[in-house]
């Protein structure tokens, strides 16, 4: 039991792990909801959730999305550099944890499949939620299908090249 739990934890290097040791009450999660709300507003107001913006990007007919992603990466990179350099702690005093990602074929095959879907739906997972909030009801089908896709990946995981 102990061992299998460790295995699960070992395997559980998803892209957005919670590394906080201190337990949070359920209500504490509302602060992440607030950040999500700001995020959804930014996505909508900068029109990143627009199918047209994604088409412009993949047709190289606008700098807009490249500007957004490029700026976000520069700001993120600088922040991570500063956190590491000054050993900035979390507000509850914990050391901030970073994860190294392991290279595998999934990043290429999975990445290509996601890219194909991204150009069709005009949305990566974040904008899917914001599009629904904007009243594009049909995107609930896209989201349900994305959940089904994730589930199917989980089902066939061991049979796929990795």
């Amino acid at each position: 039991m102990q061992k299998s739990e460790a295995l699960i934890n070992e395997e559980f290097v998803c892209d957005a792990p919670n590394d906080q040791k201190k337990k949070e009450p359920l209500a504490g999660n509302f602060k992440y909801m607030l950040i999500g709300i700001i995020f959804g507003i930014v996505f909508t107001k900068a029109e990143i959730i627009s199918w047209f913006r994604i088409q412009e990007m993949f047709r190289l007919q606008s700098f807009f999305m490249y500007g957004v992603i490029g700026t976000a990466v520069i700001v993120g990179m600088t922040s991570v550099f500063l956190i590491k350099k000054f050993n900035i702690k979390t507000i509850s005093g914990e050391k901030i944890v970073f994860h190294d990602k392991v290279l595998n074929k999934g990043q290429i095959y999975g990445g290509l499949i996601f890219g194909l879907g991204w150009a069709m739906t005009g949305a990566c997972p974040g904008p899917l939620f914001a599009q629904i909030g904007n009243g594009f009801i049909v995107v609930t089908i896209t989201l349900a299908s994305a959940i089904a896709g994730t589930w199917t990946y989980g089902y066939f995981k061991d049979k796929l090249p990795s």
Binding site: G36, K45, R59, G110, L112, C124, V139, T150, G154
Partner: protein, 188 residues
């Protein structure tokens, strides 16, 4: 002020705010930024079906579900209270290309030619909602992240796998847009 907020925001404003999400989540709760994980948590919470990939303590990651619920609410707030009074400005050449494919509506964030309820049970719906969505969910999980987890969080922490993933996302997008979409639109 409200007038200014209602206008479409500059890419640099959006980029800075999205980039700041990385340190904000780390500092307030030691959380790594990534959105596609939410889809996995939904599977783990609702349909684990004894699949090892979905057998983990999703409750520990519930912050991610609060976050995406927030994104949905944020979209609603922006749409209801801060929406742009003018039609979206799209590059002329993109409009010309899309018109050639048969898109006629350029007034909203999403073209009504594709993203409308009437298309649910049509071939358009099959491609743009069902197959497209499936590839987003399958591909992001296979790749271990999406634009947020790889392109933003991964590149911010200088991860080579994330650079490879990001390049693959872009290659997939170019392939779909340049080669496959013209074929798909011929079906309608």
């Amino acid at each position: 002020m409200l007038e200014l907020i209602r206008q479409p925001w500059h890419w640099a404003v959006a980029g800075v705010l999205i980039g700041l999400t990385v340190p904000t989540l780390l500092i307030i709760g030691n959380k790594s930024f990534g959105i596609s994980s939410s889809l996995r948590h939904i599977c783990a919470a609702c349909f684990p079906a004894d699949i090892p990939f979905f057998k983990y303590n999703w409750k520990k990651e519930i912050w991610n579900l609060f976050f995406v619920a927030g994104v949905l609410i944020g979209g609603f707030i922006a749409n209801q209270f801060l929406s742009n009074p003018n039609t979206i400005v799209i590059s002329e050449s993109t409009i010309a290309d899309l018109k050639a494919l048969g898109i006629t509506d350029f007034t909203n964030l999403m073209p009504a030619d594709l993203f409308s309820v009437e298309n649910i049970f049509t071939l358009k719906g099959l491609f743009f909602f069902v197959i497209g969505g499936f590839m987003v969910g399958f591909g992001t999980r296979y790749a271990g992240g999406c634009t947020s987890g790889h392109a933003i969080m991964g590149l911010s922490t200088l991860q080579l796998p994330s650079l490879i993933a990001t390049i693959s996302f872009m290659v997939g997008g170019f392939l779909m847009t340049q080669l496959l979409l013209p074929l798909i639109f011929k079906l309608f």
